[in-house]
Symmetry: C2
Subunit: 205 residues, 2 copies
C-alpha cells in the first residue's frame, strides 16, 4: 500500500509476525535485591539487539512516577500492580515483550496480574536467598529495615510468598546475569514466545 | 559487543540515533469527534511503516483501563492527565513517538502535560468546529449530552479552551486524515523531530 493511503497501524498479529516474537508480559518476581531489574534490562538489551520490541516496567521506577501517589498498604500495593498490569497490557497489545521487575510479594498480587493479562502473562521467579539479597543490599534498604527505619519491607518486616507454580525459576544466588538471561531466552524459545528467526539469531551467538 | 556480554540496553540517545527520530509526546487536543484518535493511529501507521517507534496513548482507551477508577470531576481529569503524562514519559524515554489523543479541554490540563514532559512535549490542536463534530458524533455522545443524559461533556456542558500557542494547528473540518497526517509529518521534519533518513523516506513517497 502506498504510504499516503496508510491510515491504520498493523494489528497485534501483524506486528508479532513481523518482529518474530509474541507480545508477552514476564513478571520477574523475587525479594528486593534479587536482581530483577538488572535481569529485565539485560533481556531488553538482547531483544533490542536482535531487532525485537521490548520495554521494561520497573516497579521502583513506576513508584517514582505513575504510582508516586501510592504507599505500601495492602490496597495501595494492589493498585500499584493494577496500574502496572494496565500499562503492560497496552504494550503487550502493541506486540512488545514487557519484563516487569516487581517484587509482587503475595500470591494474591501475582494472581491480580495473571487475571488481567491472561494468556499474555508468564511468571518468572528470580530466586535468591534472603541472606544473599541482604548481603548485596545495593540501596541500603535491608539495613534500614533491620534498624526499624523502613516499615513493611519485604523479606524483613513484610512477607514474601514464594511462587507455587512459576513458569520458570532462575537461580539468582549463584548464576550470573549473563547465565540467567541466556536461560530466560532459551525458555522463551521453547515456549514459542520467540519465533524461528530470533531463535536462530540467538543460537548463532 | 558479543550478544552474550550485552547486559545494558541502549540509552535514549542511542535509540534515537538508530531509529532516526526523537522520542516525543504529541498531544492531539480538540473537541470530541474532532478526529484525534484517527489521526494518532494514521501517524502511528506511517511511522511504523518507515521503521520508527510509535505508540498511541488514547484517552478513551486509558479511561477503559489504567484510569477506569477515575471520573470527570476536575481533580479526576487532572489525575487522568497526570497518569497519561507518566506513561508517555516512560515511552518517550525509550525513544518513542507518542501521539496522545486526549481532549485535554483546559489550558491548565495542557500545562500539566507540558510541565511533566518538558522539552519532549508538543501541542497539536486538532481544530474542528463544534457543529462539524456534533454532526459526526460517531459514538452518539453529543446527542446524549444535548438530551441532558451525559454530564460534563466537553463542547456541550463543559468548556473547551482553544489552545493559545499550539505548536501546530490542523484543520480537521475540511482536510482529510491523509492530508492532516502528511502535514503533521512535514511539521515533525521541520521541527527536527524526524532525522534525515526518515525525511528522505517520507518525501520519496
Amino acid at each position: 500500500m502506498p504510504l499516503d493511503e496508510l491510515l491504520t497501524p498493523p494489528d497485534r498479529q501483524q506486528r508479532e509476525a513481523r518482529q518474530d516474537h509474541r507480545g508477552v508480559a514476564l513478571l520477574l518476581t523475587g525479594l528486593p535485591a534479587a536482581g530483577k531489574s538488572t535481569l529485565a534490562h539485560a533481556l531488553e538489551a538482547r531483544l533490542l539487539a536482535l531487532g525485537g520490541q521490548c520495554l521494561v516496567l520497573d516497579g521502583d521506577r513506576l513508584r517514582a512516577g505513575l504510582n508516586q501517589d501510592l504507599g505500601f498498604t495492602e490496597s495501595e500495593r494492589q493498585e500499584n500492580l493494577r496500574r502496572a498490569a494496565e500499562v503492560a497490557a497496552l504494550l503487550v497489545e502493541a506486540g512488545m515483550v514487557v519484563p516487569m521487575a516487581m517484587i509482587a510479594p503475595l500470591a494474591s498480587h501475582r494472581q491480580l496480574l495473571a487475571e488481567r493479562l491472561g494468556a499474555d502473562y508468564r511468571e518468572v521467579w528470580c530466586r535468591a536467598a534472603l541472606h544473599t539479597c541482604e548481603r548485596r543490599d545495593p540501596k541500603g534498604h535491608y539495613a534500614l529495615a533491620r534498624a526499624g527505619k523502613l516499615a513493611d519491607f519485604t523479606g524483613v518486616s513484610a512477607p514474601y510468598e514464594p511462587p507455587q507454580t512459576p513458569a520458570l525459576i532462575l537461580d539468582c544466588d549463584t548464576r550470573s546475569v549473563a547465565q540467567n538471561v541466556k536461560r530466560l531466552l532459551q525458555w522463551m524459545a521453547t515456549e514459542r514466545l520467540l519465533g524461528p528467526s530470533l531463535q536462530r539469531a540467538l543460537s548463532s551467538h
